[in-house]
């Protein structure tokens, strides 16, 4: 950043930045502070006149193993979903960025982005129709195959993973597309002129150079998936109890906002710790 010399420049910068900071204050900082405050209460002030301040909500997480078990389950889900998003998204982005040009690229892009434009609830229920017993997928498979196939995907962890991967795949494809697009085609040509096979080019040039985009995409998927609740609830059924659904329950069903808030902040802390632990790797990838 350029050095600010005069007070006038400082003032101008402050004026220009203030709308953004004001927005952050109102839309992010205030609600978060309120939630942080709630997480230390025994009851919501409007419900119980005898509310007090406590650490009990955080203690609850530590004493009741259910929460930490569910958090671990959610983290595992996030790892799985991120893994599949990258596994499917990388080849897609590679093909979009390096193999396809012109109108067909635009058409494919549209198909990648389309899930973004549809309502997420609609999207999830569509998956329910596809995945349920005797649903679209099973019928299609049985139509082709001579023997009877029962997938029983609905209300399983697999269904949750499929729904989440579909929802978050565009993030990975778009960030990777940008990263791969930035790799000069001459680099690939140069590697080929030196005798490198496609696999060598992928391993030694494309992967290292697109690693920042890959990690950015992975973070974009990982963080929201840890706290996801809609997909697990609808596609997971009884299997779909995750950390995110428990938090949601505290707010909409049990109406225990303080506990919900506390659980949310524990999740936030865990995510920050994970990202901080990964940051040396992230930093190395950027140079």
């Amino acid at each position: 950043m350029a050095e600010l010399v005069t007070p006038a420049e400082r003032r101008r910068l402050f004026t220009l930045l203030s709308p953004a900071y004001l927005w952050l204050l109102v839309a992010v900082f205030l609600p978060l502070s309120a939630m942080l405050f709630f997480s230390f209460l025994t009851d919501m002030p409007q419900d119980a006149p005898d509310w007090g301040v406590t650490l009990g909500n955080y203690a609850e997480f530590l004493t009741n193993p259910t929460y930490s078990t569910l958090l671990a389950k959610s983290l595992k889900l996030a790892v799985t979903v991120t893994f599949f998003c990258v596994l499917i998204g990388y080849p897609c982005a590679l093909v979009l960025a390096k193999s396809i040009k012109g109108r067909s690229r635009e058409a494919l892009f549209l198909m990648v982005i389309l899930p973004f434009w549809s309502n997420s609830l609609v999207r999830i229920f569509s998956w329910a129709i596809v995945l349920r017993g005797n649903g679209v997928l099973e019928r299609a498979i049985n139509f082709v195959l001579p023997f009877d196939v029962r997938l029983n995907l609905m209300f399983t962890t697999d269904a949750v993973v499929i729904g989440l991967v579909h929802s978050y795949l565009p993030y990975v494809i778009l960030t990777l597309y940008l990263a791969l697009q930035a790799v000069d085609d001459d680099l690939i040509d140069a590697a080929r002129s030196m005798g490198a096979s496609k696999l060598t080019i992928l391993r030694r040039i494309l992967l290292p150079l697109s690693l920042p985009g890959l990690l950015a995409g992975a973070v974009l998927v990982f963080v929201p998936v840890v706290g996801s609740f809609m997909e697990p609830r609808i596609l997971g059924g009884r299997m779909g109890t995750y950390y995110g659904t428990v938090i949601e329950d505290q707010f909409v069903a049990v109406y225990n906002w303080p506990l919900g808030a506390a659980l949310s902040f524990i999740l936030l802390a865990v995510v920050i710790v994970i990202l901080a632990a990964a940051s040396p790797v992230l930093k190395r990838a950027q140079t």
């Binding site: 002129s193 030196m194 490198a196 290292p208």
Partner: protein, 337 residues
């Protein structure tokens, strides 16, 4: 080191014909410049020889091997790109060693050959730097070291110096020529810079619209251009207007031919020159001083002629005044109209 034979090669992109029945031979150990305006097919020819494109018709031989269907990674060539194309994630040594590692060269030999190549381009001390820490000229040298370290059969250069500034470019030209002589590699060089082509190469091929117009040693192409395009593209040409031809001593009859002179062949004077010289009359438009040299722009029967001479050899002449431009009849260029 090998010679490269291109025979009857045609390459199309959709409807557009990029190379139209091109035949040309690149001698073993020679330094060949492909020169032409943009869109003339010079880069397409280079990339077809490299193996990035496969021709629709014709054959390409490198040494004794027909390669027109061999993909680039199996052609054993070295190539240098316009924008260096160094791998930004690797050190200088790893960039240079890339081709060796792909060929599974033993580690000790790899190390020795990287050091040799970097020594050749005088960058031995930079082995551990990243490309982003190098200057433009240094990057260029790394790209050259990387292209020759595998001892390829042919070195292909795609406008490698065009990204450098003028003084650096001249240094690199000398350097490139030295290294090419030292290792004796067959080199094909694409450029749109005629001066560069003349300085570096021992043979020049001029391309236009996917065809080779003329190929030969630089002096021959410069002194005896085969047509008006070659005369105007390599060097500059002052075309003799039809009306001025009578009374001049010309090589051959004027029927169906056009005549020209080179700017540096002309002398300028206020009076008509003596016997034995061709001369035309014109009006001095401008005299541009450029240090040692000077350029005069002269209006000859509505055409602008250019004269280039040492400034001290040009007499004081009034601007807008009538002048004579004269030259040795032997220096007249003649091309089919």
């Amino acid at each position: 080191m090998s010679r490269v034979d291109v025979a009857n090669v045609t390459k199309k992109f959709g409807q557009a014909v990029a190379l139209d029945d091109v035949s040309i031979t690149f001698e073993d150990g020679g330094f060949f410049a492909l020169l032409g305006p943009s869109g003339s097919g010079k880069t397409t020819l280079l990339r077809t020889i490299a193996g990035f494109y496969f021709p629709e018709a014709g054959t390409i031989r490198i040494g004794e091997q027909n390669v027109e269907t061999v993909p680039v990674e199996k052609r054993d060539i070295g190539m240098m790109f316009q924008n260096y194309a160094l791998f930004p994630n690797m050190s200088v040594a790893d960039n240079v060693g890339f081709g060796l590692r792909v060929r599974k060269t033993p580690a000790a030999e790899e190390k020795r050959r990287i050091a040799e190549a970097l020594e050749l381009v005088q960058l031995g001390a930079m082995a551990n730097r990243k490309p982003s820490q190098l200057s433009g000229g240094q990057r260029q040298r790394v790209a050259l070291a990387r292209a020759i370290v595998t001892n390829p059969r042919v070195l292909l250069l795609d406008e490698p110096l065009s990204a450098l500034d003028k003084t650096l470019r001249v240094d690199m030209q000398i350097e490139l020529k030295r290294i090419q002589r030292e290792i004796g590699i067959t080199t094909i060089f694409v450029t749109h810079d005629q001066e560069e082509a003349l300085t570096l190469s021992d043979r020049i091929g001029i391309l236009k619209a996917g065809r080779i117009v003329q190929a030969g040693p630089p002096r021959e192409v410069y002194d005896r251009p085969i047509d008006a395009f070659a005369a105007g593209f390599l060097g500059e040409a002052n075309w003799l207007p039809e009306a001025a031809l009578s009374g001049l001593s010309l090589p051959g009859s004027p029927g169906g031919r056009r005549f020209a002179t080179r700017p540096e062949m002309l002398s300028i004077s206020a009076e008509a020159p003596g016997e034995g010289r061709n001369a035309v009359k014109g009006r001095l438009q401008q005299r541009v001083f450029a240090g040692a040299m000077a350029t005069c722009l002269v209006d000859v029967a509505g055409q602008q002629w250019k004269l280039v001479a040492r400034d001290r050899d040009i007499p004081e002449l009034p601007g807008g005044g009538e002048v004579w431009l004269s030259w040795d009849p032997a220096d007249t260029l003649a091309v089919p109209a």
